[in-house]
Amino acid sequence: MSPELPSPARSPSRLTTEAAFTDWIRRIVTGAAELQAFDAGQLDAVLDPATGSAILLPEAQAALQGSSRLVLSAFDALPGEVCVLDAAGTVVMTNIAWRAFVAARGGAGLGVCEGENFLAACRNVGASERVRAQTVAAGLREVLAGKRRLFRSEYVCRIPGGHCRFTLTIAGIAQDGAGYAVVARENVSERQRARAPRGSGHAKASRIAAVARASAANRLLAALPANEYERLLAGLEPVRLTYGEVLYQPGERMRHVYFPSDCVVSLLTVVEGHRALEVGLVGREGMVGSRLALGLTVSPVRALVQGTGTAVRMESERFVQEFRRSPALRRALFRFTDTLMLQATNNAACNRFHVVEARLARWLLMTRERTPSNEFHLTHEFLADMLGVRRVGVTHAASALQRQKLIRYRRGTITILDQQGLEVAACSCYRHVRVKGLEAAK
């Protein structure tokens, strides 16, 4: 029996002390093999016959709670204002941006705190907002009732000194049989201000809007405060980078810096008489041309686009000015430069100590993180440069991963079939590089 431990796996907080837990397990589990695995720390859960539920062991709980914390951090890192409502419309979760909005606007514009009811807030708005609030409430009810998956509405509210205009997007989610709704608020007042002619007319406004769209996915830019980001927008221009395009050659002056959105750029070092070798990979987490931040204007590497997509770029001189002017940009750049250096040092060790198959798996995963697709167009020649091996080495490694059904490689197109399996096949470097990359992008 287990009177003190009736909790199902979903409510681990009811577990008592470790000693009591161990005693309880030894009462339930008596088999030698089970106890041996328990003593070796190889168990995750015990099934309680009394309650018919699974009880997670403390180590497994801690690990799962760790991944929950990661999800919460990701929720907080979203630049938009987001909250989650339960089936009754009560706010059960908010991200930092939502809480900042509520604090700044004093509850105006449906700024509802955790524990308060969103539907009640829609009823209690002032006369000027009533019609729009009723529309939002009706849409929310339909989403919560499962009658529609998505609802969008524009909302205007009065704030000190003017009006605030934003769009509300409400999406339904189901968890454990209960309906929830995610509410995302996007402020369109700032976008409209950006569109407003400021001396040079509509063309300038639409160019800035295009830059804002093209740069939205770059996490280095997204991490900047709104005012600093807006100032940068004026100096940025959207560009499409295509597979095989060379942005810099070694020894060449860097004319532009690039902030990738959904393209990937390889940094290759070229040693006379040998193949090029990849020393860094930059995607939407960073910037190409970060050496300018160190006061250097010449590129030591070849910057080669290896995944077609969009980016925004800025002239180097302008970038250096902005870098001097903006403390937030400096901080973001220093963090990213550190990540890039770690990647380069890691690559050096990886190229020396790990087998090509594991390196190829690591490289594919790193590329996958930075691109929106599971499919890449790559030639053997290209991959040989990335990994610093001969083409035949790439053929063997790709065939081995294909035999394990982790990838499919046909006519220069690699498709990742089993991401988890590929993570197992990759060398440990991927774990180090991935974690550091994420940290830098916060």
Binding site: A37, V46, L56, E59
Partner: protein, 110 residues
């Protein structure tokens, strides 16, 4: 929800190949459960090729099914057929004991 991963024999496989049917009980994405899945898939891919069927049962979703099958802890691997039935407890990092439970000769281990 029970996750099913089934790999049937390839059409051209020799008729003498016996399909090993297994069931792996795991607790969601807890660390030892993930290790057990990865270890078992590596073992199956290497030693059984296509000659196996594997069902993965998440006890967080289906605790009563696991209890009905006589499973008390996870990760836990049960060989269902061919008889005799056998099981291995833990994260399946000991390839030798997994091969033994699956009825494969230890000599297969390099």
């Amino acid at each position: 929800m029970a996750r099913k991963r089934t790999r049937a024999s390839a059409a051209g496989a020799p008729v003498t190949t016996t399909v090993v049917v297994m069931r792996l009980y795991v607790a969601g994405s807890a660390p030892n459960s993930l290790k057990a899945i990865a270890n078992l898939q590596a073992i199956c891919g290497r030693y059984l090729k296509d000659g196996y069927k594997l069902e993965i049962v998440d006890v967080c979703e289906h605790p009563r099914r696991a209890l009905a099958d006589g499973v008390l802890v996870t990760p836990s691997l049960a060989k269902v057929s061919p008889s005799p039935a056998s099981n291995v407890i833990g994260n399946l990092s000991d390839t030798r004991s997994v091969l033994a439970a699956l009825g494969l000769p230890a000599g297969m281990l390099e």
